[in-house]
Symmetry: C2
Subunit: 217 residues, 2 copies
């Protein structure tokens, strides 16, 4: 499949590398066509890897991953261009983290709104599925690195898109317990969880953790 | 032990009943000395159960449970009276839920502050330990009702108080995996988790669930 990965940070590189490894063609998108990190990644990742602007990447991909920083996501998608987004599924992996007020970060949108919703409102032509934002990059593509069962969430307005994403999370990365939270407003829950996640990272001393949802009966 | 349970709602009644069952003397506290729900509870719970004002209850207890609604917690503790709180451990089970804007609720404090911190700031004479606020009342006192391992958190500034609470959570209710999050500011994490919790309740159709923290190695 041809896949667009928007963002050149650790999440973007981890997702893009895994997808190339799985045999997909991946175009990493960034602000400029000759981004240094994207260039280095293409060199390392080989023939199925390419790079370009956000617009190049979005035009290329049949399916899109938003791996940009939350604070730059709307701008990146605007640069990608509405004509390149139309009708496509966007896996939104971003979090609205605000590092400007020191550590640990706060959220620049939360409680009565979410970044997932902001993106869906700004780009109604996209089928936004918020997912994977509750685990570290390495865990996203390799849940088996953590022993035992654990969970990931999906939020989105389009049932078919969510089902497709659930299928891909299992097929590509090996996710087993995928909780369908409901529509995109449920991103408020999984994004707010980051306020717990960053403190668990501190308490446990590693980002290699996750939660397993267990219920009665 | 003599225990103060502040609040007559489902959480207060569940905690108070369990503690009486374990052989403790429990005084349930509320705004008035003849609160209807507290009266009914005392009648049902038997000889070790009693009730009174917030001040009566706090004066009675060697250890305190805050089971009031988050929106009324500061007021309840003010009514309890500083002289009755001095040096005591308060297990803060409350959440800053705001139901005034419809369902699902939002949080009236979050992100850069928390109710746990507000309480600790307002009552420096208390040793506030935020805990159990991430599970439903029935799960608080009976984690075994959910199969398998799952986790509960403690946040607080006083290490000795946290250790005492961890011991009590295990001894009284059977909690096994208790995660020490750090100081009281980490309440921001466990309170924000409520925004996920209320949506999980919706998605799963039951409050009888919890998360198990799993990590690598």
């Amino acid at each position: 499949m041809k896949i667009s990965v928007l963002g050149t940070g650790m999440v973007g590189e981890t997702i893009a590398s895994k997808l190339v490894e799985l045999g997909h063609e991946v175009k990493m998108g960034s602000r400029s066509a000759n981004n240094e990190k994207a260039t280095a990644w293409v060199k390392k990742a080989g023939a199925r890897a390419s790079q370009g602007t956000f617009a190049d990447s979005a035009a290329f991909g049949e399916i899109l991953f938003n791996c940009t920083l939350g604070s730059g996501s709307i701008e990146a998608l605007e640069a990608a261009g509405k004509q390149n987004l139309k009708g496509k599924i966007l896996l939104d992996l971003s979090n609205p983290l605000d590092f400007s007020k020191g550590m640990p970060p706060t959220l620049f949108v939360s409680n009565s709104d979410s970044l997932g919703e902001q993106i869906q409102r700004a780009f109604p032509e996209l089928k936004v599925v918020k997912t994977l934002n509750t685990v570290s990059a390495n865990v996203m593509v390799d849940p088996a690195r953590i022993p035992g069962e654990h969970s990931v969430f999906v939020s989105g307005n389009d049932a078919e898109a969510k089902n497709r994403v659930k299928q891909l999370l299992t097929e590509w990365f090996g996710w087993k317990q995928i909780i369908d939270m409901g529509d995109i407003t449920t991103s408020r829950g999984t994004e707010a969880y980051l306020l717990l996640w960053i403190r668990l990272w501190g308490a446990l001393g590693t980002p290699d953790f996750n939660v397993h949802l267990v219920k009665k009966g």
